[in-house]
Subunit: 271 residues, 2 copies
DNA sequence: CCGCCCGGTAACCGGATTTTCACAAGCCCG
DNA sequence: CGGGCTTGTGAAAATCCGGTTACCGGGCGG
């Protein structure tokens, strides 16, 4: 379950040193990003933080501000998971908090692991209902537009006709923005399990993808090979002068001009 | 806040008479429909009940069945709010339950009002993203008019004679406006629970729907297949010329010739 | 009790996609 | 400059997928 959660961004509004310390450690251990806030924070700041959830101790807020703050937060950030984690409380207070929009209410003292499990539960539910993918705006790199909601890449509205695997591969590469990924890692991310020794699937799909990307956007080069390591995704304009002459020689040596991608402007050179 | 909740359907699996009585009263008072279940219930039955949330006392289940049951319920009904409400429990148990998919875990004794507030909180998370469109006006796409209040689609007043499932499928597709939806997601939205591996129901109903939509509005194409992924709903006028004269298509291929792969062996054809 | 409607399942088929192979081409290092 | 290992290529072989049709069984109204 937790594996599906991925990395979360959490804000904690509290002042209880011991609790903060131990919770902080756990959050770090889980790889979640977190930020401690000492008290009342403008809601706009929370918005800017792009967090998935907030853990709030009502008692650190000035009493007359606590409820309005909770209401404001829940109202302004409907997608945010709100877990109130506070000392003793009455049923009425808990009901009030939950009705105001809090997602959960835990009494202190509480185990940080449970707090995290509750955060997960809250975020999980929120994500599920959104159908999994929604806030993933189209990613634009070079001339390419990668649209997760379409499982497809486009250039000026033109579809790349990528198959599912090709698209997932593209996405995995693009997600790494600029860094080299090893084959094994690519395989794990796209295929979902460990690559068998000697499997060339990644290479083959890299090729298919390159072909389709070049058809789509011939003046850019997107996938770069790192010998002995893997591949790197990085859009860069291709330099036309460099390859015009040499490539022409290589190509016309063979016979299969049409089989591969395109008849470029290698023509001009010798024609 | 509670005003937005509307009427909910809740199942309670418990045997604590006093608790059931007082909770039942509150549920009635709130106008929520509820059903008391004495113990282990086949998940299929829960599916058929179309409930929004379930309140579960783990201790009424045989100990070796409790966790698997919780897991099964959460796995099969991802949209269902699951509130575990049980006697004493350890942190580890609560964490386990929450990680297994439970949305909340309350210890007994607890105030029924709080249980209800927690149900609301859980269900609220669920509805938020889905847009809570109750008063969905007739949706018009292409020639089609989708009327939720009639469970039916029309073209210039003529009914499509869609069955309930067909209509729900259409609606689910249309709600996604333009995005590709995976089969599993479609199934989840229309059937309400997790699709079993190898289930072809979606495909078959897509076909039935396509047939009826085509009868209704032959000059439009609404449902598009995305191989290996799912379907996309997007009304577009069908191109009559395309199929009328296939030979013509080949000739005028000039426009998108390079868009698709097209390894054209230019010479063989007429040479 | 009969038949029809509707949802759901099984199976077949053709086409799309993925995997696997064999070999050519490249890169690195000594 | 040559060998050894890595990557690019092309295509065949193996799978996977979706379209379609037939059929089964429950619910319902006559």
């Amino acid at each position: 379950m937790s594996s599906t959660t991925g990395t979360l961004r959490v804000a904690v509004i509290d002042r209880d040193g011991a609790f903060l310390k131990v919770l902080g450690n756990r959050l770090d251990a889980a790889g979640w990003q977190h930020r401690i806030l000492g008290g009342l924070v403008p809601v706009e700041e929370l918005v800017a933080m792009k967090i998935n959830a907030i853990v709030l101790d009502m008692s650190v807020l000035p009493p007359e501000e606590a409820w309005p703050f909770l209401e404001r937060v829940c109202g302004m950030l409907p997608g945010l998971g709100v877990i109130v984690c506070t000392n003793e409380s009455t049923v009425a207070q808990r009901v009030r908090g939950l009705r105001l929009g809090a997602d959960d209410w835990v009494g202190k003292p509480c185990h940080p692991e449970e707090v995290m499990a509750r955060i997960e539960a809250v975020v999980r539910r929120r994500r599920r209902q959104s159908g999994g993918r929604e806030e993933r705006g189209p990613l634009v790199v070079g001339e390419l537009e990668i649209r997760a909601d379409q499982y497809q890449a486009f250039v000026s509205g033109r579809s790349g006709d990528l198959t599912r695997r090709e698209f997932e591969l593209l996405q995995a590469l693009a997600d790494a923005q600029g860094s080299v990924i090893e084959r094994g890692e690519i395989y794990r991310r796209v295929w979902g399990y460990e690559m068998a020794h000697g499997d060339r699937s990644v290479d083959v799909f890299i090729r298919k993808l390159r072909i389709k990307l070049e058809q789509l956007s011939p003046s850019w080069s997107y996938i770069h090979t790192h010998f002995g390591i893997g591949y790197r995704f990085d859009p860069e304009p291709v330099d036309p002068s460099a390859e015009a002459a040499p490539s022409a020689a290589a190509v016309d040596a063979g016979e299969d001009a049409e089989a591969t991608t395109v008849e470029r402007e290698l023509e001009p050179t010798d024609a």
